[in-house]
Symmetry: C2
Subunit: 189 residues, 2 copies
DNA sequence: CGAGGCATGTAATACGTTACATGATTTC
DNA sequence: GAAATCATGTAACGTATTACATGCCTCG
């Protein structure tokens, strides 16, 4: 079935594995990544949370605060974790947009070390294949207009960068002892 | 108003400025960029074409072919060009997803040389600002989980690449004589 | 002779945005 | 005292996906 875009529903659910959060917290967190994955509006964020609650994938705790608006802190349930795991395990379409990758990247690391490595390796082979395809298209160019050629060049640059990033990241993750970045992963799942 | 995502409607309309095409042609063309911008399904592509036709932004020519399915070739009208120009001229939100940039990149070059340069320069300043923001977030890290840190590193790598690409592209476009890539642009609009 | 590409389309449904509505607190 | 941030939510609308439906041709 190769899920990919399947919306913010599971992504939001996945963010709650890190820590319980309110809708507002989620929005703020996602703002930093809006460039890559976009950030849902409150008009879709809150209803999504309500739907997850109705399906018993999350629970709420209402926190009233003096002099400040109340907050509704959502936590993922066991059922939620199971559903999420099933979603994570589904293969990603090879031509899925970049945003699908970043979304899963953020989630995958919260599940298992092996899963993360496997995911990055899978992505590496997909991007490598994609890069090769773009190169092929670029070679058979001509009769292509400027816009397409520019976009093609851009795509190649991005793909090359992603390959380099994947290699260095996989390298850093596989020997986590001397490097500063990966810490909590050293303890595994 | 800062349009950005505003859908495939204008993007498809813009593709027709390159040359008249059928829905199937558009889909095939977009497949190569699906990684970056996604590709609309036929279920939205054909209705979009019908809507553009109804609004007199495009015209159709039905081309029957012996032994093969007929084709419906769409061409943009003068009204279509005007509407498109208005859309192109609208500013893009600074946190608009990457896909919005690539879409406009493909279109912008079909309009005017100056417009393209201006667009790339505007993008450059936006990405530079974004890159700075990410760096700031990265500095104030800790308490950030692995997934977010990875995504942040990835975002920084992509942003840096895009900056480099924008610089070299702007450089190549501003002196188009000795380089092979930009040819038809030398004649300007 | 079946799979996949060519080529078009419709209907049901899911997903998401914009605009609206409320209300207190902090910052300029 | 106006604007931005915090914090939640609903309703109307637009946009896209999936699944369905059709039919011929080509390649293995």
């Amino acid at each position: 079935m190769t899920t990919s875009t399947v919306s913010f529903r599971y992504f939001i659910l996945g963010l709650l594995t890190q820590q319980p959060m309110s809708g507002y917290d989620i929005k703020r967190l996602l703002k930093g990544f809006s460039w890559l994955i976009g950030s849902p509006s409150f008009g879709s964020l809150y209803p999504t949370l309500h739907a997850l609650l109705k399906d018993d994938l999350v629970t709420v705790e209402i926190v009233p605060r003096e002099g400040k608006p109340q907050r509704k802190i959502y936590s993922i349930t066991e059922a939620g974790r199971q559903v999420l795991q099933e979603w994570i395990d589904q293969p990603v379409a090879s031509d899925a947009p970049l945003k699908a990758f970043v979304m899963r990247l953020i989630l995958a690391s919260n599940f298992s070390y092996d899963g993360l490595i496997a995911y990055l390796q899978q992505r590496r082979s997909q991007v490598a294949a994609h890069h090769a395809t773009l190169k092929q298209i670029a070679e058979a160019l001509d009769e292509m207009d400027l816009g397409q050629r520019l976009a093609l060049g851009y795509g190649l640059a991005i793909a090359a960068t992603e390959l380099a990033w994947l290699d260095s990241t996989l390298d850093r993750l596989s020997r986590p002892l001397q490097q500063p970045l990966p810490m909590e992963i050293a303890q595994g799942d």
